[in-house]
Amino acid sequence: MDGHAKGIVTRNLRTGKIDNVAADAVVLATGGYGNVFYLSTNARGCNVTATYRAYKKGALFANPCFTQIHPTCIPHSGDYQSKLTLMSESLRNDGRVWVPKQKEDCNKAPNEIPEADRDYYLERKYPSYGNLAPRDISSRAAKEVCDEGRGVGPGGRGVYLDFADAIKRVGEQTIRERYGNLFEVYEKITGENAYHVPMRIYPAVHYTMGGLWVDYNLMSNIPGLFVIGEANFSDHGANRLGASALMQGLADGYFVLPYTLPNYLAGQMGKRPSTDHAEFKKADNDVRAKIDNLLKINGKRSLDSIHRELGTLLWDKCGMARNKNGLEEALRKIPELREKFWREVRVPGDGEDFNQSLERAGRVADFLEFAELMCLDALARNESCGAHFREEHQTPEGEALRDDENFADVFAWEFRGNPATAGPKLYREALHFETVHLAQRSYK
């Protein structure tokens, strides 16, 4: 309203009722978009809908291609799977990561593979950091050995995380005290006892560094729209470090917003609109129309099958490693898949009711648009940077190669209508490093 965010329109998940809520300001704390990949370590309910719809109303979306792939998750084992479970990173303190040196050994039981035939690839490639190399590097290294055909477990997408040496060194009891609960979770899911056979792990989508653009007061480019936590882009650059998502949640919610929001509110007293305002009517109608359209499709495909297809495409083309051809292919295929969704999906039930299929349908519809923005951003960022690894840009040893001269910028995208007719507009915000200067990192 007059360029300010003054309220929200929501659908009550329990009753289906559409509510208009007028406010002095809006704070989005709606989390990240990792579930665009279908499989991630996020909870099932996580989605991009609130931030994406704010983007469609003018908020800038920054760095959407920066997605963190966590190295230590239980591997994917079939189409039935609904989520990937994270095994805490702390396991890498005592576990040693390895795969067989020879492809032929991949189907052998791990205990039958002698020490000399094992490749402790993180220790080999990064002698100083070893098994504790950062997340993006460990993830890419796992992908590399699996791409070479040396992965283990069903489908060959897994590496061993072995505690045998640690158990020999400090005893099973100590390992049990340190990680007992994680070993239990692992056994529940896989049916394997990691005290006796090495765990199998593989990288999985875990966190999204990108999000709505905000200033130092955590306000987006729309006055009155504040965005906190994983939903914004602000704290983690291209590669979040361990434990800092919790830090951001606390910092944004306890230490920043309580001081910056009142500053905005001070000038807004008495400006809260009534929900009779024409803007509310318009937003309300748009929401209802979208719901009707989803329920009308009545096709033959399930939501999950389309969401899985989108996730697989992104994982292959915009996952741990990206390249120009792959991204262009994804940018061709996503609109096709979106059309398929709006033609072929089946959303049962009705709108004025508790309807979980409708909930998910709205979210998948937004993911299908958002995925395109993500690939566009990944294509435009023609360098490797943190979790964004462009295969064209790597050092001779295969490490990420940044281009600080041309890309030390935040990429923030503005929605300009239907992507088929008018692509989003890119704004670049230069990054200034005053005390700590940019350098090439090395974990060798």
Binding site: R14, R44, G78, Y80, K83, V185, G191, D304, R346, F354
Partner: protein
């Protein structure tokens, strides 16, 4: 694996529900029970039927959203663990599995297997918080807390608020939940200022929601996915007695 299911279907809070039979053939043994329901739902939707409504979110046992009674046990037969951590290989091939919502009067059914557990939120709202301002953190060593208290408080704080304790209890008592919330804060100096007020308010809220009282059957402890010990209920009773004494003494 192949299963026969009997699943509680109920259109809404007002309607009468009933158990409906479904076949669940070709289920991977590594699938969780919730993933098995996903597969059944996908087949139902493609066959033109309405899917079975059920709650879930994190699917790794930490959020407390899933709330199914499987073969008569809250969260199913593989304790400790939430029902999202129950895997199909724990069942026999060909077995008939009965899936119902948590059965508690204070958790009315919203649809099928989804129940309304906002009663638990209202108990927490009555006192499950501290007033200490966040501000800048004090030096950690300025408030020493005995290790034993920290460990006990941590044990209580593990409660994920799923409500299985009430679903398993013959009296539909939610005292294990309330005891965990009260103890977690009462054991720490940060919880001290509201200690008396908190326990009285939370016990009153619990009674007002229509939950029953504890008669020491310990079914709650047996199904609790966070393995909260029933001895916390004794702590709740002590906290409550002390608080009401102080109240009646005019404090």
């Amino acid at each position: 694996m192949n299963f026969k299911l009997k699943v509680w279907r109920q259109k809404d809070r007002q309607s009468r529900g009933k158990l409906v039979d479904y076949d669940a053939p070709d289920i991977p043994a590594q699938a969780s029970l919730l993933e098995m329901l996903d597969i059944v739902n996908e087949r139902l939707v493609l066959g033109g039927h309405n899917p079975i409504a059920f709650d879930s979110d994190c699917r790794e046992g930490i959020c407390g959203t899933c709330s199914l009674t499987v073969n008569g046990e809250a969260h199913g037969p593989d304790h400790p663990g939430a029902v999202c951590e129950l895997y199909m290989r724990k069942f026999r091939d060909g077995e008939t599995i009965i899936v119902e919502p948590f059965r508690v009067k204070s958790f009315p059914v919203i649809k099928d297997l989804v129940v309304d557990r906002s009663a638990l939120d209202r108990i927490v709202q009555a006192g499950g918080f501290i007033s200490a301002r966040a501000g800048s953190a004090p030096e950690a060593n300025s408030i020493p807390i005995p290790k034993h208290d920290v460990d006990l408080s941590m044990e209580a704080a593990a409660c994920i608020g799923c409500g299985a304790c009430a679903a398993a209890c013959p009296n539909a008592s939610v005292m294990l939940f309330t005891a965990a919330k009260v103890s977690h804060l009462a054991l720490l100096p940060q919880g001290e200022p509201e200690r008396t007020k908190r326990v009285v308010a939370m016990v009153r809220a619990m009674d007002a929601e229509g939950f029953g009282n504890c008669t020491n059957t310990y079914e709650c402890e047996a199904v609790c996915p966070a393995e909260i010990s029933a001895s916390f209920i004794a702590k709740l009773n002590r906290e409550y007695s002390k608080a009401t004494l102080r109240h009646s003494a005019g404090e």
